[in-house]
Symmetry: C2
């Protein structure tokens, strides 16, 4: 293993935060605090990711990770997409936007794989699936640790068999996209502690816990439950270094329900419930990334207009606990809270019975 998570100064890994919040400055700040910073390759060209890597390397000497989207499942029936497009037309009109083309691309997978190999990025993580054993070997041959995002013991076993170095165990509380290998309506959504305990009993790999971890008590909790580090995402989205949009920041800071929806991207993701989710959640097809491309212009126009009602307000369930502070301060504070929680519990349980 290139990066020994148990030796991190803070037991904290940054979530990649594809789609806007990810910046090299954020990853550098997490590194400076003693955590492990991450870049999101998703939704960017390989060239843009290369530029992010170069920028991050100018800001930090410490290891970091880059997250890639595994290629999507086969394209769905075109008529299903047409039906959803008809439903979305009124929203596009409302924001003066055109719907995007329902492209079924693979997010420039091959070029990004080549990039992270060539750049010998220390940690390469995957979401939405598991790379095959050949890809896994080629990455590990370049000195990259390979992490796979999993949501169930079954996926964990597949990733271990394919040769993963570590697993990001995502609980259903997590903001943003569910990392299922397949977006199947019959999948059981496991809560984070349950997922950690079941997966820790199924595989031998180090586990990184992800899902609504917004403070140090939650970090200590997932470490007790078997994780070697906690991945925090929403907790960092109010940092000045994050690229979070203004309407998104305002929504995160306010107590509000979150829910899972395919309305924005064609893949289950957790966001703060808004009109777009309520209107389209029931009819949105499982067609990723086609639906993502269809709604991109509508979401961009709504963001431009400062209207949160048609933006994908990705957020973990504890978003109201996110703190507006520099990322380095957030990570150090959460780390200190985790130490305090662990010490207090050990003292209580060791005390006179």
């Amino acid at each position: 293993m290139t990066v020994d998570l148990s030796a991190l100064e803070q037991p904290i890994v940054q979530a990649p935060l594809a789609g806007g919040a990810s910046t090299p400055e954020l990853a550098a700040a997490v590194n400076s605090a003693g955590g492990l910073g991450f870049l999101a390759a998703g939704y960017k060209t390989a060239e843009a990711v290369a530029a992010d890597i170069a920028k991050l390397r100018s800001l930090t000497d410490a290891p970091f990770g880059v997250n890639l989207f595994a290629p999507p499942a086969p394209v769905v029936d075109r008529s299903i997409l047409d039906a959803y497009a008809r439903e979305l037309r009124a929203d596009a009109r409302r924001y003066g936007a055109e719907l995007g083309k329902p492209i079924h691309d693979d997010d420039d997978y091959a070029a990004k794989l080549e990039l992270v190999r060539e750049q010998r990025v220390q940690v390469v993580s995957f979401t939405f699936g598991c790379p095959d054993a050949t890809v896994m070997q080629s990455l590990r041959g370049c000195g990259c640790d390979v992490w796979v995002t999993v949501t169930s013991p079954r996926e964990a076993l597949l990733a271990q068999t394919a040769g993963a170095t570590a697993l990001v165990v995502q609980g259903f509380e997590a903001g943003g996209h569910r990392g299922y290998f397949q977006d199947d309506p019959h999948t059981e959504d496991l809560g984070l502690i349950a997922a950690l305990r079941l997966i820790a009993n199924s595989v031998e790999l180090p586990l990184i816990a992800a899902g609504a971890i917004c403070d140090g008590r939650a970090v200590a909790a997932v470490l007790c439950a078997g994780a070697v580090a906690a991945q925090i995402g929403t907790a960092l989205m109010l940092a000045p270094e994050a690229g979070t949009s203004e309407p998104h920041r305002a929504a995160l800071a306010t107590p509000a329900c979150t829910g899972l929806t395919r309305a924005f991207s064609g893949r289950q993701a957790r966001g703060i419930v808004n009109r777009f989710m309520r209107d389209h959640g029931a009819n949105a097809p499982a067609a990723y990334p086609d639906v993502h491309h269809m709604t991109t212009p509508v979401r961009a126009a709504a963001r431009q207009a400062g209207d949160p009602d048609a933006i994908n307000l990705w957020a973990g369930q504890t978003h109201s606990l996110a703190r507006p502070a520099p990322a380095m301060e957030i990570v150090c504070t959460i780390g200190a809270e985790a130490r305090e929680a662990a010490a207090a519990l050990a003292a209580r349980l060791a005390g006179p019975a």
Copy 2:
């Protein structure tokens, strides 16, 4: 507070386990191990509960709890129940049973309240709602601690305002019925760590964590996350002292998906997915306890026949980790694991950075 949870020898509370698994012998064994045993009053007559209390008192001198169901929401439209009854007829025929009458009773609430007051039961917990301030005061006036099961910060605040002594925070991972005050389809189902962190930031009361806690690492996790004790249910259902049916025991011991359903009782509850849930989950109305009474004879006949496909196989998400052992051994082992996890984490986080 009558029962100081932080002074328990084991930071473990037994879940009430209404509907079959609850026995005085199980509660006594949990007490003997240094945890807090519980009796379920639900689905029993007040006389049967009185007998359970007498039996338990003959087995233990330690405090224990009794769980009551708060009265249900108003009755639903009769035509909705008739439609569901038509759907269930084939199942009744399959097992040679008649559907039960869709009675809208309150589980003998007043008589049970009177009983626990008169018996000065140390802990009286409520599920499915919050007793009003008058009931709360009368119980506390009799020396009873009053715990209310909550699933959200909103419910936690209502229970605190009404005068609760402590809150049972139920994560969506939990087996059996969701404890929502109202079974509203728009409710956000919070994962256990998220629920604990949000509620700990909203109220001042001691929190007991519930939801798929099957081993000591999970206990340590919820204590880090802010709970003063962990409530375990499924973890005890394979104990010989539990009244768990044979087909239910067999299902718990096998890895299998769980899901939330209203099919059996008219209220969301988590069980191992079986044919009855798949066939009726989508159409079952939110009509508790009417639907519970309708399906009772069918479930009893299926249980009698040893057929798990029409039994409510309540189970938390980690049911496959439940251990077949005497309840005292289960509680002591889980307690020891929790101590070990807490000590190991404190040592790691205190170590050289």
